[in-house]
């Protein structure tokens, strides 16, 4: 025991970071970066939610004039951008992924801790950048899909769309850094013995999402860059009169945009496959099939983009090809749904709040998935596309299938992160409120869409039978709000007064439950050796005491053999400095001062030099 205590003390000293605010600004600890992401994305989730409720209030009755047409356009555009790029992706990857991946893999940090901090600061700056446009009254207003020529300078002469282009490129830098970091971490920093087939499904999901981001984002960045060049430098990528193509925008956008949907929900699958075994005390049914399905869903997701464009007049052969691909993507999804259900059914289920959210998630995913399959039917797709039917469909997927697991995950890992237990009864009430609220919010949208209500309308006439459904949706929106406030209230109260949490309150199967709650800066005093996909359940084995320096094991990508010990970098001010310099580049670009942008690029280079002047020594 004395040995273990002395080791913990020594590691505490080695892994300690600066206290106070300065410590948060220079931190490279994946847990603190994860928490920064968590708080930042929560704030942005609030902003996106307020935008949604403003829209719902406007639509509660026919011919309402609460907000102006332009304000409404800004609201739905910024709502979409916020929820996708500034809430769900950074919440699932930035917050959950960063905090949990090293703990689940048996590592002490991410592979590139400073790059991790950099991705957070760039993300935060891009969020401020986007919301500055809203404060200045020039927020993006052509929809998150931003179709040209509506988004071209001729039809949108303000700087609204310039903010759109630059904010997405800006935000894309952060996501790319996160994705690269995740891939290397998952491939190289797994605990010794954690061969690919013993990797937890959470890590498979994060790996799939990271590969998705890495390969999908370039298409969006190119697209938005082309648009920026068209708008600001008079180029003609999308200018039909000069030989450009309006559909090129849509192709490049959806080549990113559809994989994006899977990037949003695959991490949620990872959260679900973490919670289900813990609350059923049963290993996941058909584990290898589910692992392959998680990867496959993202892979096939790259081949279905044109089903967003069925009404654009493409040749029938093209339509049919993409319909077939869209049909194929269903199979990996149904495999997972039945694997989750069979695990819950054949295990010993305890429906605590996290599992309730996962059950809700499964139902939402099935409803949204089934309406999604309907889009394989091209004529039906062309009937309902751009109506509220589609709005209903993707909110069942995005709110139900991506956000429900986020909420479930908040409860599930709350004891691990805070060292306190949440309150169970209010937790369950928050689930039922959110479940009832979101169904009331989104289900009538199916009906009103079939009744002919189109999307992105700031108002609608009475007499078409749409008003009662819209009113119900608005009520559902506020019920959902009440549930979310109860959830957050529960977490705040529990953080202050909750019962102290043991290291492993749920008897979970993965490695994060083997360390104290909250985990120390070095995570694992002894680097565990892993012999199964549920190392906390199956024969816990010894490990590797690594307590002499700021060190981390490196293993081989496929079979998890120990190949090296790497010295990890310490906390650093350079990530935030570099992020600041990058922000200046974007500010200069949006105000059209290209020379200034060049100077700011030089500043970025200097910051990179500073960064590399403080390299950790070569690995031993």
């Amino acid at each position: 025991m004395a040995v273990a205590e002395r080791r913990a003390e020594r590691l505490e000293l080695i892994w300690a970071e600066r206290p106070g605010v300065l410590g948060w600004l220079t931190t490279t600890d994946h847990k603190r970066v994860g928490l920064l992401y968590f708080w930042a994305t929560l704030v942005l989730f609030g902003a996106g939610g307020v935008e949604a409720l403003l829209m719902r209030t406007q639509l509660a009755t026919a011919n309402e004039r609460l907000v102006s047409p332009n304000t409404y356009d800004e609201l739905f555009t910024v709502h979409g951008i916020t929820m996708i790029f500034f809430f769900i992706i950074p919440m699932t990857t930035g917050a959950f992924g960063n905090y949990l991946l090293p703990l689940v893999l048996g590592a002490r940090d991410m592979a590139f801790p400073r790059m991790n901090a950099l991705s957070f600061w760039i993300f935060a700056a891009s969020g401020i950048f986007l919301y500055t446009s809203l404060a200045l009254g020039v927020a993006p207003n052509a929809g998150w899909f931003d179709y040209v020529p509506l988004a071209s300078r001729a039809y949108d002469p303000g700087s609204n769309i310039d903010f759109y282009c630059l904010a997405l490129i800006f935000n894309g830098i952060a996501s790319t850094l996160t994705a690269a970091n995740f891939i290397v971490t998952i491939l190289k920093l797994r605990a010794p013995g954690m061969s690919f087939n013993r990797m937890p499904l959470f890590a498979f999901a994060m790996l799939a999402a990271a590969f998705g981001l890495l390969f999908a984002l370039p298409s969006l960045s190119a697209d938005t860059l082309f648009l920026f060049l068209d708008r600001r430098l008079g180029m003609h990528f999308f200018d039909v009169a000069q030989g450009g193509s309006a559909l090129l925008w849509q192709h490049l956008f959806w080549i990113f945009g559809h994989p994006e949907v899977y990037i949003l929900i695959v991490p949620a699958f990872g959260i679900a496959t973490s919670i289900i075994p813990a609350f059923t005390q049963r290993k996941l049914v058909a584990f290898p099939l589910v692992a392959i399905a998680e990867l496959l869903v993202v892979f096939i997701g790259f081949g279905v983009w044109a089903h967003h464009m069925f009404a654009t007049g493409m040749p029938t052969v093209t339509l049919v090809f993409f319909a077939a691909a869209s049909a194929a993507v269903v199979i990996p999804s149904t495999i997972q749904v039945f694997a989750w259900c069979m695990t819950i059914l054949t295990g010993s289920a305890t429906f605590r709040t996290p599992l309730l959210f996962i059950a809700g998630f499964i139902l939402f995913f099935v409803v949204g998935g089934l309406t999604g399959i309907m889009f394989v039917a091209i004529p039906f797709d062309q009937q309902v596309t751009d109506t509220y039917f589609v709005v209903a469909h993707f909110h069942y997927i995005i709110f139900g299938a991506a956000v429900f697991p986020i909420f479930g995950g908040m409860y599930y890992w709350f004891p691990k992160v805070t060292g306190r237990m949440y309150l169970e009864r209010p937790g369950q009430i928050s689930f039922w409120l959110i479940f009832a609220g979101t169904n009331l919010l989104f289900f009538p949208m199916h009906i009103v869409g079939l009744l002919g209500m189109t999307r992105r309308d700031y108002t609608y006439p009475g007499g078409l039978g749409w008003a009662p459904y819209n009113f119900a949706e608005t009520v559902g929106g506020f019920v959902t709000l009440a549930g979310i406030l109860l959830l957050l209230g529960n977490l705040v109260v529990s953080y202050r007064r909750g019962e102290p949490a043991p290291p492993d309150p749920w008897h979970g199967g993965t490695l994060e439950w083997t360390v104290p709650s909250p985990p120390p800066g070095y995570n694992f005093a002894v680097i565990p050796t892993v012999a199964s996909a549920y190392p906390n359940w199956d024969a816990p084995s010894g490990g590797l005491a690594l307590d002499r320096d700021h060190e981390q094991t490196v293993t081989s990508a496929a079979d998890g053999r120990l190949v090296a010990i790497a010295r990890m970098p310490h906390e650093s001010p350079w990530p935030i400095v570099l992020a600041l310099c990058v922000s200046l580049v974007f500010v200069a670009l949006v105000i059209g001062k290209f020379a200034l942008a060049g100077i700011c690029c030089a500043l970025c280079a200097l910051a990179l030099l500073g960064w590399h002047s403080a390299e950790p020594e070569e690995a031993s």
Binding site: L150, L247, A377, L450, G465, D538
Partner: protein
């Protein structure tokens, strides 16, 4: 084609019945829209079964909660694994594969054909619909007829609808008659337009096209062939000459003022193209893309303050006296 036998009970269950509404995709009035609606009812039936299956599994798990499951084993191999995997492969792979293959064949090989633009051998009738921010220009090739926001077609006649745009992307959608088609710059898209019964069918722009996307509707007027021919002949003519003094004053104002720089009235000196053709504006039921009724009072309100009625639309608020507005209304109201 699967016909909607399921329709009646399901309408009842979901209270989706909407015969009184004018833009309801589930109240089809043409064979393509009916095929698509049947497709929907069949898919809905299958989807309800699918949700029921999953909800049933979860409910069963909830009823059995807390009990020791067959697999309450966190150590070693997973009990019941083989049977569970068989369920996953059977219900998660084989069943969806079969169902989706059937859906694919029916919808993407058969229904898609019955709803696309008819071959040139099947019809001689073409209507050109041109999207503008924010109204529809409607032309009848082979005749000088031009109108706005109202597409007249003969009933029970397959019509090729050619959709193009003058500015941004719009989407022509009349849900009771057929699926929608986008108007893409530099492209001429076609779709079948056909109505089985005479009547007015409301449609709307379905692709976000800017500030007044919400007020960019249209009416398809399907009428008996003889009535349609009369309408087309009347609309092909130039504008009639007006008789009253007030209307004359209005005409004068129109031709000397700002109006003619944006609007065309065939047979006069007004040849603007920024706004809708007004040659027979009084024969239309609505104004400003089905935003307001076309009666003298609404028309006066529109001319006086178009930016209040439809904020952001391209028609400016003009400094007109009441007398001038009245004269303009008298003139336009005479253009039958």
């Amino acid at each position: 084609m699967p016909r909607a036998r399921l329709v009646t009970p399901l309408v009842f269950v979901l209270a989706l019945a909407g015969c009184g509404t004018q833009q309801n995709a589930l109240a089809p009035e043409s064979h393509p829209a009916r095929d698509i609606a049947s497709l929907w009812w069949w898919m809905l039936g299958a989807a309800v079964l699918g949700v029921g299956l999953i909800a049933g599994l979860l409910l069963l798990a909830w009823i059995r909660r807390g009990r020791r499951g067959i697999g309450r084993d966190t150590l070693g191999p997973k009990p019941g694994e083989r049977a569970s995997t068989a369920v996953v492969l059977g219900l998660g792979v084989a069943m969806p594969l079969a169902l989706i293959a059937a859906l694919f064949v029916i919808s993407d090989m058969f229904v898609i054909r019955t709803t696309q633009a008819p071959a040139a051998t099947r019809t001689t009738m073409t209507v050109q619909v041109i999207g503008h921010q924010w109204y529809w220009e409607v032309r009848y090739p082979g005749t000088p007829a031009v109108t706005a926001d109202e597409i007249h077609i003969p009933v029970r006649t397959p019509v090729v609808l050619q959709a193009t745009t003058d500015d941004v992307i719009h989407s022509v959608w009349v849900p009771r008659l057929n699926r929608k088609i986008d108007t893409i710059p530099g492209q001429r898209n076609e779709i079948l337009l056909e109505a089985d019964a005479a009547g007015d069918y409301r449609g709307q722009c379905a692709e976000f096209c800017g500030l007044q996307h919400a007020h960019m509707a249209m009416i398809v007027v399907a009428e008996p062939r003889a009535a349609f021919r009369r309408w087309l002949a009347a609309n092909a003519k130039p504008a009639r000459t007006v008789s009253t003094a007030l209307a004359h004053r209005g005409e004068q104002l129109f031709m000397d003022g700002a109006c003619q720089s944006c609007h065309t009235i065939r047979g006069t000196s007004a040849t603007g193209t920024a706004g809708p053709d007004l040659t027979h504006v009084a024969s239309r039921a609505t104004l400003a893309a089905v935003t307001i009724r076309n009666d003298p009072r609404s028309l006066a309100e529109w001319i006086r303050d178009p930016q209040h009625v439809k904020p952001g639309n391209k028609m400016p608020d003009l400094p007109l006296t009441s007398a001038q507005v009245n004269a303009l209304v008298a003139y336009l109201d005479a253009l039958r």
